[in-house]
Point group: T
Chain length 152, copies 12
Amino acid sequence: MFKLLLIHGPNLNLLGSREPGIYGTVGFDEINARMKRAAEENGAELRVFQSNSEGALVDAIKDARNWADGIVINPGAYAHYSIAMRDALSAVKLPAIEVHLSNIHAREEFRHRLILTPVCVGMICGLGWRSYLYAVEALIEILKDRLKPSAA
Amino acid sequence: MFKLLLIHGPNLNLLGSREPGIYGTVGFDEINARMKRAAEENGAELRVFQSNSEGALVDAIKDARNWADGIVINPGAYAHYSIAMRDALSAVKLPAIEVHLSNIHAREEFRHRLILTPVCVGMICGLGWRSYLYAVEALIEILKDRLKPSAA
Amino acid sequence: MFKLLLIHGPNLNLLGSREPGIYGTVGFDEINARMKRAAEENGAELRVFQSNSEGALVDAIKDARNWADGIVINPGAYAHYSIAMRDALSAVKLPAIEVHLSNIHAREEFRHRLILTPVCVGMICGLGWRSYLYAVEALIEILKDRLKPSAA
Amino acid sequence: MFKLLLIHGPNLNLLGSREPGIYGTVGFDEINARMKRAAEENGAELRVFQSNSEGALVDAIKDARNWADGIVINPGAYAHYSIAMRDALSAVKLPAIEVHLSNIHAREEFRHRLILTPVCVGMICGLGWRSYLYAVEALIEILKDRLKPSAA
Amino acid sequence: MFKLLLIHGPNLNLLGSREPGIYGTVGFDEINARMKRAAEENGAELRVFQSNSEGALVDAIKDARNWADGIVINPGAYAHYSIAMRDALSAVKLPAIEVHLSNIHAREEFRHRLILTPVCVGMICGLGWRSYLYAVEALIEILKDRLKPSAA
Amino acid sequence: MFKLLLIHGPNLNLLGSREPGIYGTVGFDEINARMKRAAEENGAELRVFQSNSEGALVDAIKDARNWADGIVINPGAYAHYSIAMRDALSAVKLPAIEVHLSNIHAREEFRHRLILTPVCVGMICGLGWRSYLYAVEALIEILKDRLKPSAA
Amino acid sequence: MFKLLLIHGPNLNLLGSREPGIYGTVGFDEINARMKRAAEENGAELRVFQSNSEGALVDAIKDARNWADGIVINPGAYAHYSIAMRDALSAVKLPAIEVHLSNIHAREEFRHRLILTPVCVGMICGLGWRSYLYAVEALIEILKDRLKPSAA
Amino acid sequence: MFKLLLIHGPNLNLLGSREPGIYGTVGFDEINARMKRAAEENGAELRVFQSNSEGALVDAIKDARNWADGIVINPGAYAHYSIAMRDALSAVKLPAIEVHLSNIHAREEFRHRLILTPVCVGMICGLGWRSYLYAVEALIEILKDRLKPSAA
Amino acid sequence: MFKLLLIHGPNLNLLGSREPGIYGTVGFDEINARMKRAAEENGAELRVFQSNSEGALVDAIKDARNWADGIVINPGAYAHYSIAMRDALSAVKLPAIEVHLSNIHAREEFRHRLILTPVCVGMICGLGWRSYLYAVEALIEILKDRLKPSAA
Amino acid sequence: MFKLLLIHGPNLNLLGSREPGIYGTVGFDEINARMKRAAEENGAELRVFQSNSEGALVDAIKDARNWADGIVINPGAYAHYSIAMRDALSAVKLPAIEVHLSNIHAREEFRHRLILTPVCVGMICGLGWRSYLYAVEALIEILKDRLKPSAA
Amino acid sequence: MFKLLLIHGPNLNLLGSREPGIYGTVGFDEINARMKRAAEENGAELRVFQSNSEGALVDAIKDARNWADGIVINPGAYAHYSIAMRDALSAVKLPAIEVHLSNIHAREEFRHRLILTPVCVGMICGLGWRSYLYAVEALIEILKDRLKPSAA
Amino acid sequence: MFKLLLIHGPNLNLLGSREPGIYGTVGFDEINARMKRAAEENGAELRVFQSNSEGALVDAIKDARNWADGIVINPGAYAHYSIAMRDALSAVKLPAIEVHLSNIHAREEFRHRLILTPVCVGMICGLGWRSYLYAVEALIEILKDRLKPSAA
């Protein structure tokens, strides 16, 4: 049974009430509940961590090295400048998928610069809470693929 | 029953043989077959179009206005410079999801410029053939949401 | 009697239905009919060509060398990146006037880069279908000027 | 009967003698006379203002608010840096069309930056004195369109 | 009675001793005392928060949603890169005024990039501790204006 | 008794009628009257100068050297390109505070470049007519500070 | 016996008549004839393909995978922006040499950006029709080298 | 006898009192007197014009066409952005030499951009009032050279 | 006896296990032990602080003002964007030497931007754990130099 | 009989031993011997010059004016910054062809800037020692062409 | 009696024969002779040094420290990139005036970047051989000024 | 016993007298003597080379291939533009450490671009003559490490 870490960056605990035109109306707790269920249905366990602090997020990534098999991460605004989080993801060497609720490419210019994406497996954006859903599903599939004898 | 158009841009018909380290080993026909099946399982019909020609891709987008409910598009290299395809997507006003097999943000600098994404609902990259799968599923969910009375 | 070629680039065959807030409400066929009439009234004949394909547009420009006296061209999105069409216009050496329905300078930054304009006589934008009208009239005047003995 | 203001920016009073290879051979007074006639033939009255001073041009635009229905403006060199004139055009809220005698896109790089065009209806360049002519005609048509019941 | 939050970003607790040539000689506690008094004199209550941690500052902004009517914020160095704080300010939708003790436009180039200002009502810089004073006064005036029947 | 010069740049005489969504609804004369009163209440005299001409504004700054103790200046659009006004401010060596009615950092990119601010004491923007008010008050305080024996 | 594909991009079929000052006076058919002869003399067979369409050029590169040993390509204007052709060349993995008739580095700034060259073996420009000749010769030498036992 | 125009741009009438560390201690009237004398000693007559207004400077350049043989110009701050003055210098076609008292290349970055210099014969900077002296002498020599039979 | 603070930024507590190809194989505790020993051998005392949090690092720098004589700092990823840490270093006015284990100039472009270095005495990179060693030695030498009578 | 100068810039005397993966395995002397032979076979004489010094290379180019008919030049690293060598090539007015062993466009970004190429006839890169061979052959053909009566 | 060094950079020994349209027709030896005479007439002695080698030019500047009172330098192409020569000029601390025969601001973009000028007293360009003449005269005047009692 | 080459670039022979505020007061010969002693104390021999000529420095690096085990290099100003020296260092494949006396990151913008550093092991700056000392020590340690059996 795979163990997954779901990381939420700054302001994401406001979900549901924060600018619903951009981020959707599904609340923070509801998303986490759905993701835990989705993980379980696919034979995995999912733990959730949220912080507004870059340092605490780096700590969480680092700690994942000791227990997790993969990471789904919505870095929020830190997606655009946190080299520290990028370095943490590089260091732990766990497969990670980045997600964004909104379509960051349709927003301000400074949201087009993506610092963490190059060290992730892939990225999903603009699909609301389902961005998380597909990331959880994909991560589990990737972990299963790695168990197969001939996976390259 | 929703009708979907799956568009593949240049060089994607080479899938399976073309640089598998970057694009994966699942072939072009296999991906299309899987997507048709996934669409059917979700109560939708999916047609496939591939061309290496920007003009033919613009034509296909334009024609979708007459019959399709939504578009999944892997624009290939045109993702980075085809304003004509962007204008076509804007004009037809169908919900579209952009997909890429590889993690374009982890490749050359010129692949970080995304011309079509701002006029799409969202984007998925780096998840191999599953980038398509989640886009098909998400598109159908989006279309279902729109049928609901109170969707905002 | 002068022979003119009117070239429309990608997506312009959607005119009338496509984003009328930007491009106006006069349809594609109506514009062409008006331009043919305007040419005739000024003692010229006008042929129309539209394509979404950059290559077909290059072909059309090249072929104009054999029969046309001048070109009115709305390159659509290709205005911003088609060096191939620019080279074709340079090669045929016919006087050409570029037109745009919308005011491209009031739109996205990437529409401010104009690749073809430097090899045209001039450019008209933002006047809706009348952008075409004045281009047709101006082109005929330019051709008449060239017939005059002392034109420099 | 519409009232129009034709504004000429710096150095345009030299027309006819100034670098005819770039600006044509028709003189300043001749252009103004032709434009007055063209306005009259289309049922409008046209007044002319020229100044080399940015401040005087801003004054003239501001004063137009009290009597004019629309503006044709050749900002000359100020086209490339006068944010003050842009603000004045925004403030008076009259429809304005920008014109240039020469094809500014075929000249020095610094002439490709257009500060005023985004707050104008449209722009015409490269057609010599006829750039003015079509602007006057188009402006009157735009004013007529606004009088029509269903204009959007 | 309005409730205001005064936020100080990194290093501002050093005020008084830190580079007085740039930041003035009035100490941190003294500024806070003066601001509380100024708020009271204008019929408002002011609470103070300082942190060197971006995450704690995001937390404080988020919590203000539950009790405060407006924010005066000196983001310190985070003014130039904290998209997370900007997102927090956008999310809470409280009127905020940004202040800086020094004239940031007269300092290093990297201090000219302002990330938070676009989501604030306004900004005051260079007036020493009085930058705070006028921000407190202005914020209270803005809140009073909003209570008036016809404020737009 | 201090003598102050209040300078308004281009288009500011339109205040009250010009784009109230951006610049507020308090008129030009009303602002000047309020500022004169505010100056008087703080024991100062204030004279007002407005011009749309960069040269006249430079003249006014230069002349202030002969009679004024400080300057409050809203340079309007010239804020973004008038090196001539900057040089004038540098030359007269009077303390100056720059003000803007609107939050220039929340507007077009080209309004983020500030040419005069580095030679001013500070800047206030986005607070409507109160931007002027606080500048007048701050300027008088600065002048008072300079009279004190130990001011550094 | 090696099989070579000679690809000409847009406007090259105009050779001989098109701007001879830049492109030389040897015609399109003549160049092709000379290249076929040169190939034969070096023990190779050469087929020619020309198109103005980016998509058709991608098709031709892709098809070469089935029969050719190497490619000589003059991408014309597409040299500067066709990421699709670059991807095709990468995908087919045949040795390719890029050629240009004119010295593109001595022309407009936008012709200095070379998109395809990094995935070619090398590039020759400015030598007129002989650019092709040396490319054909070099390509055959490279293919011969690869047949040698110890080639690295 | 040659007739020369000496033009001073904005703030130069402050010379002598304005920042002597940068501009030297010789006053405005003294420089003009010296230049008139220098012109006379070389058999020329020199008239002086100073304005802070860009428009008035353009007027002065334009009027010089009717009486002057050459221009010495210190454009002051306008050196860095007045395309209008550049166009005026181009239009009048008189030989002009640009001067600056201070070494503009040793000052702020924005003073390194020179708009007028490309249409002048040459430029002298950093030599204080002697920058003017050598410009006057050089201009007269250039005018003498042009009178010689074989000057190329 | 000098008192030194050794600060480690984010992810450095992973040393030894984290990407040894880049950062070397000597572990975090081992480096700290060696540095303490080196300090002692040179007659100094060294305390160690590590945090992944920018705010905590700012706190640590600030607190050093009360007890330390100098700082050796490996800011990790914060080297490239933490203006807050730079401001803290400026404020405490202690001599600081920046170190990096890897040669940051040989890595990604974004690691070439150094925010803290200008307010440090110097920088050492690429020498693995010895980067720290030489920094400790140099810092002590600098402190000794300052005790000498005639040090400038 | 034509006289040719073959110039090698810095580090090229290391050829054969220097990074063979990039520069090939044919040694410096061997290349020179082959080129002399190739020249002779085409009825020309070739002299070789190599230096690591920019000044000595400028000297060599300058001296060629007295005896050579054309130049083949591999400027090595100076290709990317030696304006002095460019000026020398411009001054001597001999036809020159630039060569590079490696495909400089497939290497670091800073090797894409080419300073000398615009003043050469053409450029060949990426073909190893054969880059030289074709340059020698092409240069001789160009010189022969110039002897023909009607060459333009 | 002052001692002056006149330094010529690369290619300047070709003067007279090299591109006379740009550099004038007065030869290298003639310029040097005239400058020696001009120096003598002003009570100074002038020595001349020319080299195409950046290193030799640095040597010459360094040696001037031992005997010269000032430097007139035409750095030729090195003006645009030789930081080494700039450092040498900074180190020797002699007053230096930079000269250019041609108007470098009217030539290629890369000639607008001036590396040495900020450490010179001033610069003269575009006046042909007289650029040198005025530099020699100005340098002597500057040296005389320094001998005066009250020079600041 | 290891053999080391210490290379000094341009102007470094002026050390001691040249701008001591930037470069320190220890003279050139003194530094070299200290480095020789330091090398000897660590069981190595050190030879010194200084030149102001880029070519001579390339020569020296190249020659080191024949006798040296490693290089300490202060490239002086060439650090910022000598691709030729970079290529030489790459070619000789000896471990090299770059040093600078001053903190180049605290100086002009153009000194932040480092061309050689990416091909060195590491870099030390800002520590005065001790920058050299630690580089010598580190280089010897690196060479010793390489002799150890298990060094990777």
